[in-house]
């Protein structure tokens, strides 16, 4: 019988700049960025909803671009700047999108919310969405089972108009 213990991969050191702070991790190559954030760095604001890139709950910003962190191995992002939901508020002041989500009741259970907000932040940076229809289309990678979509669109429109 073959010994399978050698199939557990060795951990590799990587650096991530997470929400402005450099974090050094010894991490197995099979660990996703999502699991690294949640289980290793205790940044549980980033959510796991499917682990297959189907729901968008794990959306974070990597070097300013929105990505599904469940489809990204942590070691692929050695040296990258990661912004999670925990890094959006500055000095206790909410990011305009965070405030807009509260104002427009753009969530209910709150589980997709960090991904929605990070995705919306990425969308604003892309500058591609000009109206509600384009927001709807470009936010369709982020599922919300509570069905807060119209309020999510209204919140993003508010943040867009003020940025």
């Amino acid at each position: 019988m073959a010994d399978t213990s050698d199939q557990i991969p060795e951990r590799i050191p990587i650096d991530l700049v997470v929400n402005g702070a450099r974090r050094t991790l010894e991490i197995a190559p099979w660990t996703t960025l999502l699991d690294a954030l949640r289980d290793r760095l205790e940044l549980t604001g980033t959510k796991k909803g499917c682990d297959h890139g189907q729901c968008g709950a794990c959306t974070v910003l990597v070097d300013g671009r929105r990505v599904n962190s469940c489809l990204t191995l942590a070691i692929m992002r050695d040296g990258a700047e990661i912004t999670t939901i925990e890094g959006l508020a500055k000095d206790g002041a909410l990011h305009p999108l965070q405030q807009a989500f509260i104002d427009h009741d753009a969530f209910q259970c709150g589980y997709c919310t960090p991904g929605q907000i990070c995705s919306a932040a990425g969308l604003l940076a892309e500058g591609r969405a000009r109206d509600a229809d384009e927001i709807r289309e470009l936010m369709s990678g982020n599922l919300c089972r509570c069905g807060a979509y119209p309020n999510i669109v209204a919140a993003i429109e508010q943040a867009m108009s003020r940025s």
Binding site: R38, K47, G49, Q99, I102, F107, C109
Partner: protein
């Protein structure tokens, strides 16, 4: 005083949710935490004859593999496994209990390792051999085996004879597929080993006390040995009413290994949990030429498991909506080799009313009547099943307000008569109805002399807004700003609450807050009236209110003492009151919420693509505690209705008895681009009979009627009547 109740107050847990601070069940840390990964059965029925864990156990980092043959003891009696919302009839499923396989996806082993990836990897090293048995998973091919279940609806008159005599009649089967809840949060439990056999269990659930009692029962523990906490729940929609597999498995692991264990189900594994059962809804309506009804017959044939009878009220809603001298209703179950279904948003009604309201639309077409006119012709002011009047029923106003907002009067009744370029436009409507239930709930309030109050209760907030409405009601009842109220929920050690479901938590928790606040008021009044030269001396205690941080005479608020002064004079630093609120039994009236739903669809004639471009939902549901979160509840329910009409279907390959789309990409739920304008109207519905505050609840009414309104709009657009849901483009193009 209503400074907050009835207003558009933002969620008090909003900041926690938008900053990522809100912690869900699988996110609580524990020292030396172990991670469990579930191995699930791959056959629908049979026995495990060999379960080889040796290769998995060799994987570095694996601590143990629990199976039916290797686990701590579990209770042996069915009664021990019946949680407070388990079906009355049946033998609940027991994870890792024995070698029998009852459904595909059933958990059969738990690999426990030092980290999640290792547990997941090692799970692939488990070898299972089964002895397979013949199985059946197809409701339609097993339809002849349907067995009737007892339900309270008694036949009225002779519906069969009346149907035969009726001038116009419509009869059809409507097929609603099985649907899975798919809350965004994966089912998760972190069972924290506190030492000495005690556990703190962070669980994704709609009822912490239900789970706590269940775990104590199946693991034969004393009540103080297990505490269940669930401060935030990432959606549930009924799937978290019963304790789920992962909470049993995480607890089993922690007890076996005397360490903290976290178990998170995968999205795929969540298709082994409960679901909305597929139903074949047979509806027959007989009417006179003027649109009055002579007969209503409704039979539902639903899926259940081999081991539990899950049945809900699919067919009784016509008794409440439409006057008919004759009716016959029945509910039948077909036992299949599948997991037991469970409640899913508006269980029974979402499916049954969908069929009834499509049938009413078809009848309106046959009668050449406007669909609203037909519904008004047979409008029932009484619940005919018990012949009771309603505590309130503003459904007529829902029709009127909804129709006006939608522009219904501009509808050309002929199918295929309205267009927007290459799109056919369809306008459809339907009625919604749900129950207004209320349950005993206890609340504790601790008021401190600085004018802050802590309100606590075991109730859950599954995204419904319980934290917020509890804070609103407490702030008004105590006369304090809402910022001074802190609310703690969903800890089994807190005062009693049932599971959060059935739309009963708003009324139930609000009145419990009122009850506890009233006791606080009475104590403050005693302190104030005992003060020397009290400004309130001689004022009737009943005329004294709490307002603006003071104890004051209702009619003259200048006669007031601050709460701080009142407590100082009473020589108390804090006042703590806990009160159980129970609603008096009143069988003299029916209690329901109602809605009128209007939908516009645009159908691409060449491609068959259907878009729901507008929905107006006019809802009569008593007093609305929070117009902001209340609107969101209805809006979200409308989105669910869009999913039910056009997208959602759990597809089974009956050759293997296995779900084919057990993920959230191939099980379609509405995405942002699928949802356009949703207009929510709350119709005034004062109700001083149902309860003191006139609250009815909003969690479920919003979905009921929506699928039918959309189906009816699709008929109006295309002239095609699709009776098998969801209405996908292939069905339109055929």
């Amino acid at each position: 005083m209503n400074a907050y109740v009835g207003t558009a107050t933002s969620r008090v847990d909003g900041r926690a949710k938008v900053t990522g601070a809100a912690k869900y069940a699988g996110e609580f840390a524990a020292d030396l935490l172990l991670h469990g990964f579930v191995v699930a059965a791959t056959i629908p029925r049979g026995r495990i004859v060999r379960l080889d864990t040796s290769e998995a156990l060799k994987v570095k980092g694996v601590v143990d593999v629990l199976t039916h043959a290797h686990r701590p003891p579990l209770a042996e009696q069915d009664e021990a496994w019946k949680d407070e919302v388990a079906p009355e009839q049946g033998s609940p499923f027991r994870p890792l209990y024995d070698n029998s396989v009852k459904f595909n996806g059933q958990p059969i082993a738990l690999v426990v390792a030092e980290d999640w990836e290792t547990a997941k990897f090692a799970a692939t090293r488990i070898r299972v051999e089964y002895e397979e048995e013949a199985f059946a998973t197809d409701l339609e091919s097993e339809r002849a085996k349907a067995a009737k279940v007892d339900q309270p609806h008694k036949p009225r008159g002779d519906a069969s004879a009346a149907l035969t005599r009726a001038a116009v009649h419509h009869e059809a089967d409507y097929v609603i597929p099985s649907e899975h809840h798919n809350p965004m949060e994966l089912y998760a439990t972190t069972a924290v080993w506190d030492g000495n056999g005690k556990l703190t269990v962070y669980d994704k659930t709609q009822g912490v006390q239900n789970v706590q009692k269940f775990l104590c029962s199946v693991f034969v523990r004393k009540p103080d040995e297990i505490r269940v906490i669930s401060p935030y729940v990432g959606g549930a929609f009924g799937s978290g009413l019963r304790p789920q597999h992962q909470v049993v498995l995480a607890t089993l692991g922690a007890l076996a290994l005397k360490r903290s264990v976290r178990v998170v189900l995968t999205r795929h594994q969540m298709y082994g949990l409960g679901y909305r059962p597929m139903t074949i809804e047979h509806v027959a309506l007989g009417a006179n030429r003027d649109g009055t009804l002579e007969a209503v017959m409704h039979e539902a044939i639903a899926v259940t498991s081999r081991f539990e009878n899950f049945a809900r009220n699919d067919t009784g809603w016509g008794e409440q909506l439409y006057k008919s001298p004759n009716s016959r209703l029945s509910h039948k179950l077909v036992h299949l080799d599948v997991a037991t279904p469970c409640d899913m948003r508006a269980p029974g009604a979402a499916s049954g009313v969908c069929a009834l309201e499509c049938a009413m639309d078809e009848l309106a077409v046959a009668l050449k009547l406007d669909p609203i006119e037909l519904r008004l012709k047979c409008y029932s002011d009484r619940d005919q099943s018990e012949n009771l009047p309603y505590t309130s029923k503003q459904l007529r106003a829902c029709y009127a307000r909804g129709a006006e907002a939608f522009g219904w009067s501009r509808r050309d009744p002929a199918p295929r008569s309205m267009r927007d370029g290459k799109d056919l436009i369809g306008w459809g409507m339907a009625t919604g109805v749900w129950e207004a239930l209320q349950m005993p709930v206890a609340v504790r309030i601790v008021l401190t002399a600085n004018g802050h109050a802590k309100v606590s209760c075991a109730a859950s907030d599954i995204g419904t807004g319980t934290y917020t409405i509890v804070a609103q009601v407490a702030a008004d009842a105590l006369g304090l700003p809402i910022e001074n109220i802190s609310v703690k929920l969903a800890d089994s050690s807190l005062p009693q609450a049932p599971v959060e479901g059935g739309s009963w938590m708003a009324a139930s928790s609000a009145h419990a807050v009122l009850g506890a606040a009233e006791e606080i008021r009475q104590e403050l009044v005693r302190h104030v009236q005992a003060m020397p030269a009290s400004p309130l001396s001689g004022v009737d205690a009943a005329d004294i209110i709490l307002v603006d941080g003071t104890v004051a005479e209702a009619g003259d608020r200048s006669r007031a003492v601050s709460i701080a002064d009142a407590m100082r004079h009473g020589q108390v630093e804090r006042i703590e009151k806990e009160k159980l609120n129970e609603f008096p039994e009143d069988k003299s009236h029916a209690r329901n919420t109602h809605s009128a739903v209007f939908a516009e669809v645009k159908v691409d004639e060449e491609l068959g693509v259907i878009r729901v471009t507008r929905v107006v939902s006019a809802v009569a549901a008593g007093r609305i505690l929070n117009t902001k979160t209340g609107r969101s509840q209805i809006m979200g329910s409308v989105v669910w209705g869009i999913g039910m009409a056009l997208h959602e279907e759990t597809v089974m390959d009956h050759r293997f008895g296995r779900i084919m789309n057990a993920n959230i990409a191939e099980y379609h739920i509405p995405v942002n681009a699928d949802v356009h304008h949703i207009d929510v109207i709350f119709v005034d519905e004062p109700d001083d009979r149902i309860n003191k505050m006139g609250i009815k609840g909003l969690g479920e009414i919003g979905i009921v009627g929506v699928p039918a309104a959309i189906a009816n709009a699709v008929y109006h657009a295309t002239g095609k009547r699709i009776r098998r849901f969801p209405i996908t483009l292939d069905k339109l193009l055929n």
